[in-house]
Subunit: 226 residues, 2 copies
Amino acid sequence: MATATKKTTFQAEVDKVTRKLRVDIYSGIRLPRERLVEQDLAKLFNVSRMVIRQALSQLDADSLVTIEPYKGAAVAEISLKRIRESYQIISLLEGYAAYLAAEHLTPKDIKTLKDLIKEQQAVNVSDVQAWQNLNKKFHRVINLKCGNSRLIELIRQNVQFTSYWFIVLSAPGRIPENIKEHIKIAEALEGKDGVEARKVIERHIITAAGYLLEHLRNNLPMGMLN
Amino acid sequence: MATATKKTTFQAEVDKVTRKLRVDIYSGIRLPRERLVEQDLAKLFNVSRMVIRQALSQLDADSLVTIEPYKGAAVAEISLKRIRESYQIISLLEGYAAYLAAEHLTPKDIKTLKDLIKEQQAVNVSDVQAWQNLNKKFHRVINLKCGNSRLIELIRQNVQFTSYWFIVLSAPGRIPENIKEHIKIAEALEGKDGVEARKVIERHIITAAGYLLEHLRNNLPMGMLN
DNA sequence: GTAAATAATATTGTAAACAAAATTGTTAGA
DNA sequence: TCTAACAATTTTGTTTACAATATTATTTAC
């Protein structure tokens, strides 16, 4: 699967189901502890039970669901500890990617970053989805130029995490500050100052995580976060 | 699987086969491009074909084998690019782990590190396996104290890579230098200087990777590395 | 003899049948 | 009414049989 280029129809179905379930979990349509019964899902998606089993197994590997023998799959719970750890890792990986990318980014890339910042400034504060997309695009432009394909893959895997509904919903208050930091990052990269870009990105992400955790502590019901 | 605590006998068999195949590949008993035919392996290990399928699928996720639809599994090839990228990531992760661990390491941990260094100094230069083990132990003591369980898991996954036979075999020449660097790392950590420990570890690993790549370029037959 | 076409075989992919375990429901006894 | 034992049902786990595809061998036409 890691390198698979061709796909069988079975694998295509698995991918489709996996993606759909992933989105459902990230967007809060399926909540933590909700049971995921194979036969039900098979009927729902009109696929064989083996497709569902495979999909659930993948989501388990992503820590999005938990599987217990003879008990089945359930949407995984989320802990503050887990969130803290993930953001720490993301800041490390993205900071380093920016450091590496500084040498590879073309004037055209810098232009793209600046354009994205303009778009971000034009976003309505209440449109968290739009902000989320532009934020991801900004970081992706940088990450993709780091020159280390495995690092790119690692970032991709870890960054998915930030699509969780409770994280997206926590964004609005800090959008202006985030944009200011994006400007600093773009400036550092334009000057090919990888060390500075790294510093700013690491602080950027850790700061965001700090506010996020504070917000979650205050606003999410006990039991939601285990 | 990620969180699975209890295991069914089927899963136990899968794990066993996976481990065995992994060791065989890392140790060079099974070489790149070698086909892994399900039925043959099933007979060899005295397990059902599905056990083998599952095991191969896991190894595929680890990039140790490649699977193509209706063609089957084969031991994955290794590229210099892949090696370079992996070491870059390991240096990043372990450097950061050391930075974090500096605050958590106890005097007892420091003692353990110093004892390991003494053991390393006593190792016979030709006993690469012994050196490899002591080297891994040294780094593990530090990593385990970083306080971020996901980072520990990430390191565990990426570090496995260094068990490849051609990497282990490349070690002997640089053992003394490595020990000197270990001493510097232990000193930095004893002084709770996380920033310094990080710097030394990053340089330590990148330097080792540089020599390794040079060595491989000169000593491995073309076609071995794709 | 060579190359294309076709058959035979080997190998992987998938679904469906069956087995094992957990969960729920029911009954019987106190 | 409560609990313990047991039966019924649901759900997951695994094997097995078969289908799909690729590979190799064989035949046939030139």
